[in-house]
């Protein structure tokens, strides 16, 4: 099962839940892959402390024009959907930051004057955290586009990870636009972590709009700090027929452990049991 843990609003406890589930599954001897897809704010490693084994740089393929072959015909600029190329005085100018690396200019150049080189915008790391296979993407500071890094991370490690008896946990970025879409595509189900506040409700609606309505994925909700708000989220979930599969009450011990980078089930054993139960519930859903 490929399970994406997402949230809409940031800071609701998404990473805590993702880690808790991965650790619970690993403790039962299952093969677990953890992918930190929140490449703008990759934090899961701070809790799982993996031993890094592999690293690679990723990015976009930028075109490079051979001035010997280029005739300045302008076709490349014409096909670029992002105006990343301009032909000025017979010379091709490239605006790196606008290029999505789609390859059209190279394919369409009548003189075959364009080749490509990798322009790195981030890195991928993989290793082991006990029994958990861990991998993450990290967007370089100052770079704009998270989706290519997420895409490369999934291409690198996700293949075959969702097979029978296996669990892949994807820790998604917050929000409900491109980086979240890139993470959720291809997942089997989505666990949305929220809090019972007006913010939590508003952003949950967005996340459901994406995960369930636009992507057509099965969705469950985890309510974090469940006793620290009102019942609007519960009522909303009931009306929408979305199961609230876990309620985690506020506990200063969990908050303090979190602040030190200690996994929640480590600090409060009952939380570990709750995650094991949650795994069973989710596995039951997948089967039935």
């Amino acid at each position: 099962m490929i399970l994406a843990v997402a949230s809409g609003k940031g800071g609701t406890g998404k990473t805590t839940v993702a880690i808790g589930l991965a650790r619970a599954a690993a403790a039962e001897g299952r093969t677990v892959l953890f992918l930190d897809c929140d490449v703008e704010a990759p934090n899961a490693a701070l809790f799982l402390h993996p031993e890094w084994e592999e690293e690679r740089r990723v990015g976009v393929l930028l075109p490079e024009v051979d001035p010997e072959k280029c005739t300045g015909c302008g076709r490349c600029a014409e096909v670029c959907a992002y105006s990343a190329l301009a032909v000025v005085n017979g010379k091709v100018l490239l605006f790196d930051d606008l290029c999505h690396g789609c390859g059209s200019c190279m394919r369409q150049c009548p003189e075959k004057a364009i080749t490509e080189r990798l322009h790195t915008t981030g890195s991928l790391h993989a290793g082991r955290a006990g029994a958990i296979l861990f991998a993450r993407g990290v967007l370089d500071v100052g770079r704009a586009m998270a989706p290519p890094v997420i895409r490369e991370l999934k291409r690198w490690k996700l293949g075959g990870a969702g097979g029978p008896g296996r669990l892949a946990v994807l820790d998604a970025p917050p929000g409900a636009s491109c980086p979240v879409v890139e993470t959720l595509r291809g997942a089997d189900r989505v666990l949305l972590v929220t809090e019972p506040t007006p913010f939590g409700l508003h952003d949950l609606e967005q996340a459901i709009g994406l995960a369930r309505d636009a992507l057509g994925l099965p969705v469950d909700v985890v309510l974090n700090r469940a006793d620290e708000g009102d019942d609007a989220v519960e009522r909303f979930c009931e009306k929408e027929g979305i199961p609230v599969v876990l309620r985690i009450p506020f506990d200063r011990k969990i908050a303090e452990a979190y602040s030190e980078g200690i996994a929640p089930d480590h600090a409060v054993p009952e939380v570990g049991r709750a995650f094991r139960d949650l795994l069973l519930v989710l596995a039951g859903r997948e089967g039935g």
């Binding site: 809409g8 609003k9 940031g10 800071g11 703008e40 704010a41 934090n43 701070l46 393929l61 096909v79 959907a81 992002y82 999505h100 690396g101 789609c102 390859g103 059209s104 394919r107 369409q108 967007l139 500071v141 100052g142 770079r143 704009a144 586009m145 998270a146 895409r151 970025p173 917050p174 929000g175 409900a176 636009s177 491109c178 980086p179 979240v180 879409v181 595509r185 019972p196 506040t197 007006p198 913010f199 508003h202 952003d203 967005q206 996340a207 459901i208 709009g209 994406l210 636009a214 992507l215 700090r225 620290e228 708000g229 506020f250 908050a255 303090e256 979190y258 602040s259 030190e260 980078g261």
Partner: protein, 303 residues
């Protein structure tokens, strides 16, 4: 001269919007201000500010490709050309997954049958609302819609126009989480970024990243520590980070369970019953005002 301040955090959920709303309340008592919610994925500032909607303008998405099944001969060249895995094939039927499509047109140029068109869909809307504290520019992005960076830029452009028209001297922007394109769109050209951090390993990790991004785009920063007493040791770490980088710390907001209660009632934390919280917010506004009024050197420079 008009000043722009963006509130950022790197990691989401550290209290960015709560701080922005509280600053809006205090600033509006002394100044004419305009507000902008640049977190269009999760636009929450309005929840705390009693807005009355005045204007709503549709926002269309960038283009996405669509295949005309009448013309398509299933040659597969488009799927081969698409580098974004946006053209899945099932039973030799090729179709575009609009959520994966980046609108690059690569498929359109390679299709021998001229079977691909580019389309635009509604992607959300931009809003202008009146609040007791000033005009609020915000937006609603439909779930899954692309290019929040572009919508953020539109929200900021409209806020700037309102500020110029209305003679406001201060634009306060609630920024998005992360460090990528929406953050860049929310913070290019601002006078200062106020970074809200919690004393946790993750928030500190992300604070350094968002600070790096701000530096990359030449935006000076100051710091607010939220829930500082949840982990005084980590707060000291944030202070060391600030000292090393020459950043001012504008305030430390204590951890208090009255804060979520206030927010659940949709009230800004200037109305929080806990006095320590109100005092911290007042100090943060003092620091912000001082920074803005310091005419020669409007914001503290980086060390």
């Amino acid at each position: 001269m008009m000043k722009q301040l963006v509130v950022l955090s790197g990691k989401g959920g550290t209290g960015k919007t709560s701080v922005a709303a509280a600053l809006a309340v205090l600033a509006s008592r002394e100044r004419k201000i305009v507000l902008a919610d640049a977190d269009v994925d999760a636009a929450n500032l309005a929840i705390l500010l009693d807005p009355i909607e005045e204007e709503r303008v549709d926002f269309v998405s960038p283009e996405t490709a669509a295949i005309d099944p009448e013309r398509c001969v299933a040659c597969g060249l488009c799927a081969e050309a698409c580098r974004f895995d946006a053209i899945p094939v099932e039973d030799s039927v090729y179709r575009v997954d609009p959520l994966g499509c980046e609108g690059c047109r690569a498929c359109l140029w390679v299709c021998p049958e001229d079977a691909i068109r580019m389309e635009r869909e509604p992607a959300g809307f931009r809003l202008r609302s009146r609040t007791p504290y000033g005009l609020l520019h915000h937006a609603h992005l439909f779930p899954g819609a692309e290019n929040s960076g572009k919508l953020v830029s539109e929200v900021r452009r409209e806020a700037r126009r309102s500020a110029l028209d209305g003679g406001a001297d201060f634009i306060l922007i609630d920024g998005p989480p992360g460090i990528g394109c929406p953050v860049i769109a929310a913070s290019t050209g601002v006078d200062l970024a106020l970074l809200v951090a919690e004393p946790t390993v993750s928030a500190i990790h992300d604070l350094a990243r968002v600070r790096g991004a701000a530096e990359h785009f030449d935006v000076p920063c100051a710091i607010v520590v939220n829930k500082w007493d949840l982990n005084p040791g980590k707060t000291a770490e944030i202070e060391r980070f600030a000292a090393r980088d020459g950043l001012e710390i504008w305030g430390r907001i204590p951890y208090d369970r009255e804060v979520p209660r206030t927010l659940v009632m949709r009230r800004p934390i200037t109305e929080c019953p806990a006095e320590g919280v109100r005092k911290a917010i007042a100090e943060i506004w003092e620091a912000a005002r001082r920074a803005m009024d310091d005419a020669g050197d409007p914001f503290p420079t980086r060390g």
